[in-house]
């Protein structure tokens, strides 16, 4: 099956843009730390889509984009582990995961 023939690159970019901004809105608007973390994961995946798509459409004989997507996944996993550890500690400290209540670090 020839993806290139059936689905143009523009679709991929539009998809990744939509996913990215959904993630960004999640981070910006939701107050729950876990949900914000999910937004960040969405943004990372939007980037992954771009990597894979550009690699596949523009340089089909090379593999850097794929590898980069894999590295991003690994980093995302590590980041999720750290973030969840932080969130657990925040919960223990403040008894909440609402980001608006965690504002000790200010002027």
């Amino acid at each position: 099956m020839n993806l290139q023939a059936e689905i143009p690159l523009d679709y991929m970019i539009v998809l990744s843009t939509i996913v990215f901004f959904v993630g960004l809105m999640g981070v910006l608007i939701r107050r729950n730390l876990i949900t914000m973390l999910m937004g960040i994961e969405l943004m990372l995946n939007a980037v992954n889509i771009n990597f894979v798509a550009f690699n596949h459409y523009l340089f089909p004989h090379r593999l850097e984009g794929h590898f980069f997507a894999l590295i991003v996944m690994a980093v995302a996993a590590a980041e999720a582990a750290i973030a969840i550890a932080l969130i657990i500690n925040i919960y223990r400290q403040f008894n909440t995961v609402n980001v608006d209540d965690v504002d000790e670090l200010k002027y």
């Binding site: 981070v27 910006l28 980001v99 608006d100 965690v102 504002d103 200010k106 002027y107």
Partner: protein, 634 residues
Amino acid sequence: MNYSYTILILLLPILIFLFIGLMGDKIKPQFSGLLGTSGLLVITLLSYFTAFSYFGHRVGESFQAIEAFQLLWLQFTDSLIIHLGILLDPLSVMMLVVITTVSLMVHIYSLGYMKGEKGFARYYAFLSLFTFSMLGLVLATNIFQMYIFWELVGVSSYLLIGFYYERPSAVAAAKKAFIVTRFADLGFLLGILLLSFYTNTFDFKALTDLNGLAITQPTTAVFMGLSVTTWAMLLIFMGGAGKSAMFPLHIWLPDAMEGPTPVSALIHAATMVVAGVYLVARLFPLYSYTSPDSLEVIAYIGSFTSLFAAIIACTQLDIKRVLAFSTLSQIGYMMVALGVSGYGTEGLGYMASLFHLFTHAFFKALLFLGAGSVIHAVHSNLMTDMGGLKKYMPITHITFLIACLTIAGIPPLSGFFSKDEILVAAFEHNKIIFGVQWLVAGITAFYMFRLYFNIFWNHTPEYHQAPHESPATMTIPLIFLAVASVFSGFVPFHDLVTSDGNPLHTEFHWMIAGPSILIAVVGISVAYVLYAKKNSKPESIATSLKGLYTMAFHKFYIDEIYLFITHKVIFNFISRPVAWFDRHIVDGTMNLIGNTTVYFSGAIKKMQSGHVQWYIWYFTSGVLLLVFLVVYLN
């Protein structure tokens, strides 16, 4: 001859100073006094031994300068090298004898005079420090080493003037002495830097070598109409004038009499104040060959100072102040003699100056110690509280009389010979200066005998307790110094200490000696008429000379002029604007920067709210803004 033992002359006093200074409160005061005195006795004997062996071994006709000890201290570049060492030549060996003798006498005398004083050990520690510095000064091989010891001498003088530090006047006097001499030393330092910059050496041997570059090829650079060499020599003389209290830098010396009297005898009469004379004598070939103009200046300053100080001395009531002004006057003589001198066979003035330095050290120390003995007995410095002391204090009386006759220039006492040589040298060079110095000789005789008659003759006031002769520790130095004052005139000085090391042929001139004896006798007679018995003549003369007398009594208002210049002129027109500039412009700029930063941080600090999502908003909008800029503005 091996002179390496002379290093002991320098090492012993500093070791004694350190020992007494550090251990002074743990040992008995009397012991530190005895230690200081016996240490100095050893140093004195070493110096005499050095002098005998040095003057006993002349090479051919003349004396050679010997570097007995030499140590490389600082090497900055190939040419900028500073040594520490010991230089023996007729000048320094002569000074060695003078300093150690007077210092030893003062040490012995102080055992009695300072007995029971608080800080007895401290006093001896400082005396040792002073002796060390002064010996280091005269033995220095190069001008930089001399400068170091020069400052050390200034410090120890400061410490000793301020010995009675509970007394505000002593503290003020110490500060005044230090600041005035330090100000003069600024000139000295500039002079050293200028001189060594153009001659590439600090070494006295190289500087005063007649075939050396410093003399054969003086710099041709000119600054404000005078050659740079002359400037350098004048600036160096400024340092010497500060230490030797030449007009107009003399103001510290009369106040320095706040120190203990033996200190005045040692530092402010016999040794430190002649450092300026020594300095000019040390660099004399340089003065003589490269800048005769500055020698003229020295002669006039010396002459003016000697007249000026002699007039003031006639009006003072504090006996130590009379002696202080007399010291100024006599150092003026020495400066005059250097100023009118030439080099080599013309070097009569040079020889006379140092001869006078030599004899003056003894008789002036004797005068001060005698005055100290009187003050010890009467407990007052004012001659109005004294009188008729000759029957109470026979030894002090006789020795004081000898000293007065010596300074007045009565033959065959030593002062006559040295003053006569100076007058001869002045007569050959400049008749005006000769006239002034001849007149000063008369005034000197007058004020010294005014002092003498007021203390020992005149009417006897009501003493609270009858004055008594001082203890033997005080009278023995008096007797020794009196003997030295009588006989030091017979030292064949023209054979020993001359400008080029060769014996100098001198003649005795009745044409000069006759009038100088005459005016001295006139001065003494006038003093006898006015002061031998209580009468109203002195007051009536003072009233008839009202203006002049008041001026002289107030030391011609020089102190007031200085205060006016510093407080009114410098403070108001320089210091205050500078302080204003510092406070408002310099500080203001810094405050402006600081305040602006604080203001803006206050305005924007609310952005750091602690709400993470707001930060993400700022960040995202910033990125979007950048993207817009890049995409649409390109």
